[in-house]
Structure formats: structure tokens, C-alpha cells
């Protein structure tokens, strides 16, 4: 075959260029940094997402050290949970799946980006160095309101981060002179036990632990919440000295607060006793 010298030179340059590209890209991909999305996440029947250990209670959990896992369920047109908070200097493995059509899970303006195909679980490991706030968006068309599908990613300083959650349960009303209880459930998704103090405050006084709370008091209880577990605390409240009317209360655990109002009624008003 008769090839002009210029052509030969160009051919050689082109080949060198191509091999160079492949080498750089291969180095970039296998070197440190981001791992490829592949088939590690496995498959899942969308109808069984709620039964799956990872997705039945999606969100961030601690694996150990500075490693975390975040499970997210995508569905037209929202993510559950929509907001993810992780500490700086952490390595987070995301597991994302879809309940309906194909979506993406994309942290805007970064290379944290994966398709979310129904039937598949996308597994993606990301290193977060610096604190920052990012938008999350769906960049695969997923129906008429695709443009509303978004979320939030917060990378917070390590010392501001925990996985403690608080929920309280208390009656709205009690009869003057009766006892009632304010229940507080503390959950901990860190991989170690959480030792902390729970404080109930009604009004502005402080009383020691295990005492029945009387008027205008604060009560503290020490509590140990096991790793990936939860603990329920009972604060007994004696309304004898409260006087009728509204009494605001606040439960504080590990910097998290739950609050409500207890209305103390006269016996004759027919309140619900010691509910």
C-alpha cells in the first residue's frame, strides 16, 4: 500500500496520542481517588425495597473509624432521605436504588454522580475532606416533574457530627395532682455506645436524676445508647405543685432537643388523669 510520508507521520502521532490517552485515563482511574460504579451493589426487586436491611430505614450509619454508609431510595420525584449529613475527613459508601424509573444521584458540580436504575443498587464510595454544602439533583429524566427532584448534602466539621436522634412522646394534658410521664427515645447510629446525659426541663429549676419532676424543674438522667441501637427514657412528672395552665418542657440529649407543652387542668375540668 502506498502511503504518503506525511500520512505515515500523522498516523504515528495519532497512535501515540491515543495510547497516551488510554494510559493517562487508566492511571487516573486505578490510581487514588474515585472508584468506578460497577456491579458490586447487586440487584434488588423494587417491590422488596422496604424489606431490605439497608433501605428499610435509609440514611447514614457509622461503620467504624471514619467510615460511613448512606442508603438512599430514589423515587419520582424525591430522595429518601432528601438531606444527607456526613462529617469531614470521612469515607462514605452510598447505596442508592430506585422504586420506579431510572434516576441519577448527583452531587452538583462534583464527580459524585451515579445512575440509579430500578432493579439495581448503585454502590459508590466517596471521600469527603472539607466541610461544605452541596446540592443533590437528579440528572436523568424521570417524568413530568423531573426538574423538582433534588436533595442536599452537608459535610460538617467532625466535632459537630453525630448520629444521635431524639424523639419524645408525652401527653398534652394532665390533671392537677396526677403523675404523668414524658418518654424520650434516643437512637444512636454510631458504631460505638453513646454515653451521655438526658435532661428534662420544665420551667427553670434543676433536680437530680431519678427524682420525680416537680414544678419548674430540670431533671438529668445518664444514659448509654448502644451502637446502632436506641434507648427509651422515662421522666416521671408529678403535677401536684404545677398549678393549672401551660407548662413548656424540653428534653435535651447530646445537643439534640425535643420539646412540648403540658397543660395541667383542674380535676373538675375532666382532664385525662395520668395518661
Amino acid at each position: 500500500m502506498n502511503i504518503h510520508t506525511y500520512e505515515k507521520t500523522w498516523l504515528a502521532v495519532a497512535m501515540v496520542l491515543i495510547v497516551g490517552f488510554i494510559a493517562t485515563i487508566t492511571y487516573g482511574a486505578v490510581g487514588p481517588g474515585i472508584a468506578m460504579i460497577d456491579d458490586d451493589g447487586g440487584t434488588i426487586d423494587p417491590d422488596t425495597i422496604n424489606d431490605d436491611e439497608r433501605f428499610s430505614d435509609p440514611g447514614v450509619t457509622h461503620v467504624g473509624g471514619n467510615e460511613y454508609e448512606a442508603a438512599v431510595v430514589a423515587q419520582a420525584w424525591a430522595y429518601t432521605p432528601s438531606e444527607i449529613t456526613v462529617p469531614a475527613n470521612s469515607t462514605v459508601t452510598f447505596y442508592v436504588t430506585s422504586r420506579d424509573v431510572t434516576h441519577s444521584y448527583t452531587v452538583a458540580g462534583t464527580n459524585v454522580n451515579t445512575m440509579v436504575v430500578p432493579g439495581q443498587v448503585s454502590e459508590m464510595t466517596v471521600e469527603f475532606d472539607e466541610p461544605g454544602e452541596y446540592g443533590i439533583l437528579c440528572n436523568e429524566y424521570c417524568g413530568a416533574y423531573h426538574h423538582t427532584m433534588e436533595g442536599k448534602l452537608n459535610v460538617v466539621p467532625e466535632d459537630e457530627f453525630d448520629l444521635t436522634e431524639l424523639s419524645t412522646e408525652a401527653p398534652d394534658e394532665a390533671q392537677l395532682g396526677n403523675q404523668t410521664t414524658i418518654n424520650t427515645t434516643v437512637s444512636n447510629d454510631m458504631n460505638y455506645d453513646l454515653e451521655t446525659t438526658a435532661t428534662l426541663e420544665i420551667g427553670n429549676q434543676t433536680v437530680e436524676q431519678d427524682q420525680t419532676v416537680e414544678q419548674d424543674q430540670t431533671v438529668e438522667q445518664d444514659v448509654t445508647v448502644p451502637a446502632h441501637g436506641s434507648e427509651t427514657l422515662e421522666f416521671a412528672v408529678d403535677t401536684t405543685d404545677f398549678g393549672t395552665g401551660d407548662h413548656d418542657w424540653t428534653v435535651t440529649v447530646d445537643g439534640h432537643e425535643g420539646s412540648g407543652t403540658l397543660t395541667v387542668t383542674n380535676a373538675t375540668e375532666g382532664g385525662d388523669g395520668d395518661a
Binding site: E7, A14, Q75, N113, Q120
Partner: protein, 580 residues
């Protein structure tokens, strides 16, 4: 007066079919371009007159009309010209030729009507599934039937050209395949190979599913089958443009093609490498092992080779043409080129933009960089340079040469033609550059709204408002350019008077002819076999593992009909409802 020898004089019957195909193509361009303007204005919030939910109907139509209808109707027209001209014989049976044209038209009609149903209540259909129709979105069956009819129409067109060539070969047993025919045939071979993917996806899965015969599909499988076809289709659009760059541009420059053998090598490389690369569209997909993505990446990079070779040959041929016209010097020969000819200037500008598009494409193809730009507006900027300009502008430019050949009439206004192609170049510079930049800081593609509620985009350079303004301006200039083009074509066809000054129907000669390459280059069976083997290597394992993991029909995936439009706040309620 000398006898005129334009295409219409040589092949009046074929000229009618080609005219019909080109007009179908132009109509799609006009509608598609208008929709592009609606998109450009809507998502930048410059001018809005549709609800954002309807944006996706518009976008589906824009994608389908431009990358399927506009490009492929032009292709079948131009390949019919290439085969008949270079073999110097008509098609075997013109009724068959009209047959495939009719089939493609019917397919387009079905697809078009089913998409239109997304905004017209009187049409009880919906196909708001975009041109990628990923399951579990489910379009109306007419959409899938139309798509299949269209593709089968192109298969028959290919058969038409093959049998014309077989007949020619019988009469010319010892001759090399003329270059334009060689290009058309090699292109069709990889088209047959790759469109099997979409045919299986539709016929085995999506169509029976939309008819209720099967009740689940495997979304990753149909998606992979789509991209089995979806990347080669890119080269299917590009090959007619390449053919025009090889066979027309040197002639328009006043010279000859630099090398016939190299042109053949380029088309053989496309035949071999076009299909085993589709997985590079799925770098971010779960369920596909990293190794398969690497194979696709490597093949993709080698696919740069034929394009780099083309860049060389095209520039070298233009230089040769310029020197024939008296051009001199290192670069000042450029001034000797026929810049007043819209056909030449349009193609040259298209080639220039393709170089830019090739550059952003290399970035897309990089596995890890892809994570930043995947599905961002960067990608839209990229393919408006490639298919949206390298192909589209080449087709429009070539029409300034072809329409006189096919009608026997002079172009109504050539200066306007020159303005038109330059306008496209300017408009696309604005739109595409702004889209590339937008993608880098995260603005996604296929999205009706410019902003989100909970966060805002943060460009390193410039502002979102300035970028949006450039997209809107670019879109307006491009649409104006489309209308100028259509006006010129319409007035040429219905207004212009028949002229005897139409040049002869010829294509570029070569400096180095086919005799400089070994005969094995023309062995289509050999190259096709290699292409098949490479496809098997690249695809059998990924497909097997997708089917193995998710099942042939998926793990119980429910169809999603996009017509069910509900209020997003109700949806949020339902999300809470299903969460445990």
C-alpha cells in the same frame, strides 16, 4: 449549448426519491429547530409559554426529529445518490426504492403522532420518553412500532444499494468498488450489526410489554441494548458527512482527494470499531463491571484514529485545492479557497467545529472525568458540535450543491446561503460554549428549570445569568439560520427556473487512487467478520451478567406511563406513604 449533465438528467427517477427524502429531512429540521428554540428560551427562563411538564414532550420531539428523522432521511437520500452516481447505474427497481421511503415515512408518522399525544389531549397516546426511551418508561405501542418500521425501512434501503452493487459487480468483476459506494456499503454493514440491538430491545421486550404480553422488563438490559445501537448510530449520522468531506469538499476546493486508500481504511475502521463501544455511555451505570467499561473506553479511544486521519486528509485535500487555485505560502493558501460558496464554507466550518467537538468528546470518553460531566449540559454542548453541527451544517451546506443537481434549478440566493451557514457557526459558538461551561459546574441536561429550590449553581467564571443569555441568543441565531435555509430551499424548488448552468454530477478525483491499496481493503466479508467478533468480545459477557443478575425480564419492574401527570406535592405524600 453543451448538454447539461446534472444528476436529474442522468437519473430522473432516482432524483425524485432523493428529493422526497431530502424534503422529509428538511421538514424535520424545521420543526426540530423550532422546538430547540422553545427549549433554549424555556430552560433559561427567557421566554416561556409551555408548562414545564410539557418541556419533556418538546424535548422528545426535538431529539427524535433531529437525530433520527432529519439525519437519516438525509443519509438515505445522499447514499442513493452516492451509489447510483459512482456505479453509474440506477437502482434495480424504483418501486422498491419508493417502498422503503414509504416505510420510513409511515414509521416517522406513527412516532410523531404518538409524541404529539403528549400535548394534544385529543390524541389518546403518549410517548414522553425522550429519544432514549429507557424502560420502565412505557410509550404507546405506536411509538415502538413506528420506530421499528423506520429502522426496517433503512435496512431495505441498504439492501437496495447492495443489490445495485451486486449487479454492477457482475458487469465489472475486476474493478475496485468505487469510493462513494464503498463508503455507503461499509456504513450500512455496521448499521445492520448495531441496529440489531435496538431491534431486539423493542421486538423482544418493549413492544410486547407495551401490549401487555409480558409484564416486566429488565431496565438495565434494554438500556444496554439501546446503547449497543446508540453509539454506532452516532457514526451512522456522521458517515454521510464524512463521505461528503471526502468526495465533495476536495472538489469544491478546486482539487482532488489526497488519498483514496486512506479513506477506505477510515471507513473500515468505523465498520470494525463503531459497535463495541456503546458501554461508554454507561460508565455510571450500576450492574456493569468495571472491566467491561475499560474495554469500551479503550475501543473508544482507538475510534479516534479514523477521525484524526480524516482531519488530516480533509485539510490536505483542501490545501491541494487551494494550491491548484493559485494559493501559496504556509497558511496564506487558505485565502485562495472559495469562501463565497456556501457549500464549501458551510462544510469547512462544520469540520472546524467537529475538531472542537472531538476535543470535548475525548474528555467525555475518559472514564473518570466522565463522572463530572455525565448527563450535564456539557454533553449537550458536545453533541451540538458533532451531530448538531459537523453533521447538520455539512448536510445544509451540501444541499446548496445537491438541490440544483436534483431539481435542475439554481439556488435562489447563494449569498443568503453564505449568511446562513456563517450564522449557524456563530449561533452554535454561543450556545455550545455556554452549555459546555454550564456542565462543568453541574447544570444538568434534560431539565426544564434553570434553578433548584434548595441550592444554587456556582460557576467559577462568569454567572449563570450570562450563560443562560448566551444559550438563548445562540438558540435564536440557530433557528433563524434554519429558517433562512428552508426559505432558500423552498424558493429554489418552487420559484427558481430551470438552468442549463448546473455543473455536471461528479465527485472528487483522487491524487492517490484505489490501485495504491491492496485489494483486501475491499473484502467486506472479512471486515464484517472482524466487527462481529469484536462485538461478541465486548458484549457477550456484560449482557450475560446483566441477564444472570437481573433476569431476562427483570425482577418485577412495573411500567411507568409518563401520561400520568400528578401534582408533585401529592407525590411527596405518596413517597411518605410507601416509606416504612
Amino acid at each position: 449549448m453543451a448538454m447539461r449533465n446534472a444528476y436529474i438528467d442522468q437519473f430522473p427517477e432516482e432524483a425524485r426519491v432523493i428529493r422526497a427524502a431530502l424534503w422529509s429531512s428538511f421538514l424535520a429540521l424545521m420543526i426540530g429547530g423550532t422546538l430547540g428554540l422553545i427549549q433554549g428560551l424555556h430552560r433559561t427562563n427567557v421566554l416561556r409559554f409551555i408548562p414545564s411538564q410539557d418541556y419533556y414532550t418538546v424535548l422528545t420531539a426535538h431529539g427524535v426529529l433531529l437525530v433520527i428523522t432529519f439525519t437519516i432521511f438525509f443519509l438515505v437520500g445522499i447514499f442513493t445518490w452516492a451509489v447510483t452516481t459512482s456505479l453509474d447505474r440506477g437502482v434495480k427497481d424504483i418501486r422498491f426504492t419508493w417502498g422503503w421511503y414509504a416505510m420510513m415515512s409511515l414509521g416517522t408518522l406513527l412516532v410523531g403522532v404518538s409524541i404529539l399525544g403528549g400535548v394534544v389531549d385529543q390524541i389518546p397516546m403518549n410517548a414522553d420518553v425522550l429519544y432514549t426511551f429507557y424502560s420502565p418508561f412505557q410509550a404507546h405501542p405506536a411509538f415502538y412500532v413506528g420506530f421499528v418500521l423506520f429502522v426496517v425501512g433503512t435496512w431495505l434501503a441498504g439492501f437496495d444499494w447492495f443489490r445495485t452493487w451486486w449487479a454492477w459487480k457482475k458487469d465489472n468483476p475486476d474493478e475496485r468498488i468505487p469510493l462513494p459506494t464503498f463508503m455507503a456499503l461499509t456504513t450500512m454493514l455496521f448499521w445492520y450489526l448495531s441496529s440489531i440491538g435496538v431491534a431486539i430491545s423493542i421486538l423482544a421486550f418493549l413492544l410486547p410489554w407495551s401490549l401487555g404480553i409480558i409484564d416486566s422488563v429488565n431496565p438495565l438490559l434494554t438500556r444496554t441494548l439501546f446503547w449497543f445501537f446508540g453509539h454506532p448510530v452516532v457514526y451512522f449520522w456522521l458517515m454521510p458527512a464524512y463521505m461528503l468531506w471526502y468526495t465533495m469538499l476536495p472538489k469544491l476546493s478546486g482539487g482532488k482527494l489526497f488519498s483514496d486508500p486512506l479513506a477506505r481504511v477510515v471507513f473500515v475502521l468505523f465498520l470494525i470499531l463503531s459497535t463495541p463501544v456503546g458501554i461508554h455511555h454507561q460508565y455510571l451505570d450500576p450492574g456493569i463491571a468495571e472491566g467491561f467499561k475499560f474495554i469500551a473506553m479503550t475501543n473508544t479511544m482507538f475510534l479516534l484514529l479514523p477521525s484524526l486521519l480524516t482531519a488530516f486528509t480533509v485539510v490536505a485535500s483542501m490545501e491541494h485545492g487551494a494550491r491548484q487555485r493559485g494559493g501559496e505560502g504556509y497558511l496564506s493558501w487558505l485565502k485562495a479557497l472559495p469562501w463565497r460558496d456556501p457549500a464549501f464554507t458551510g462544510m469547512a466550518l462544520a469540520g472546524l467545529m467537529f475538531a472542537a467537538g472531538g476535543f470535548s468528546g475525548m474528555i467525555n470518553a475518559g472514564l473518570s472525568i466522565n463522572y463530572l460531566v455525565h448527563n450535564s449540559w456539557w454533553v449537550v454542548g458536545h453533541f451540538h458540535l458533532t451531530v448538531g453541527t459537523a453533521v447538520a451544517l455539512t448536510f445544509m451546506a451540501a444541499s446548496y450543491w445537491f438541490i440544483p443537481q436534483l431539481t435542475g434549478k439554481e439556488i435562489w440566493n447563494r449569498s443568503l446561503g453564505l449568511v446562513q451557514v456563517v450564522l449557524w457557526f456563530i449561533g452554535m459558538t454561543f450556545m455550545s460554549n455556554a452549555m459546555h461551561r454550564a456542565g462543568l459546574f453541574g447544570i444538568p441536561r434534560r431539565t426544564a428549570e434553570p434553578q433548584y429550590e434548595g441550592f444554587s449553581f456556582d460557576p467559577a467564571v462568569g454567572t449563570v445569568a450570562e450563560i443562560d443569555a448566551q444559550v438563548a441568543l445562540g438558540a435564536a441565531l440557530l433557528t433563524l439560520s434554519v429558517y433562512l435555509f428552508i426559505t432558500n430551499m423552498v424558493l429554489t424548488t418552487i420559484g427558481g427556473s430551470t438552468s442549463d448552468a448546473i455543473p455536471d454530477n461528479t465527485y472528487a478525483g483522487t491524487l492517490s487512487g484505489p490501485e495504491d491499496s491492496p485489494a483486501i481493503i475491499d473484502n467486506l466479508k472479512l471486515w464484517t467478520s472482524i466487527a462481529v467478533v469484536l462485538v461478541i468480545i465486548a458484549y457477550s459477557l456484560p449482557l450475560a451478567s446483566i441477564i444472570d443478575a437481573g433476569g431476562l425480564f427483570g425482577p418485577g419492574i412495573d411500567p411507568w406511563k409518563p401520561s400520568v401527570v400528578v401534582d408533585p406535592s401529592l407525590v411527596l405524600e405518596s413517597v411518605r406513604g410507601v416509606m416504612p
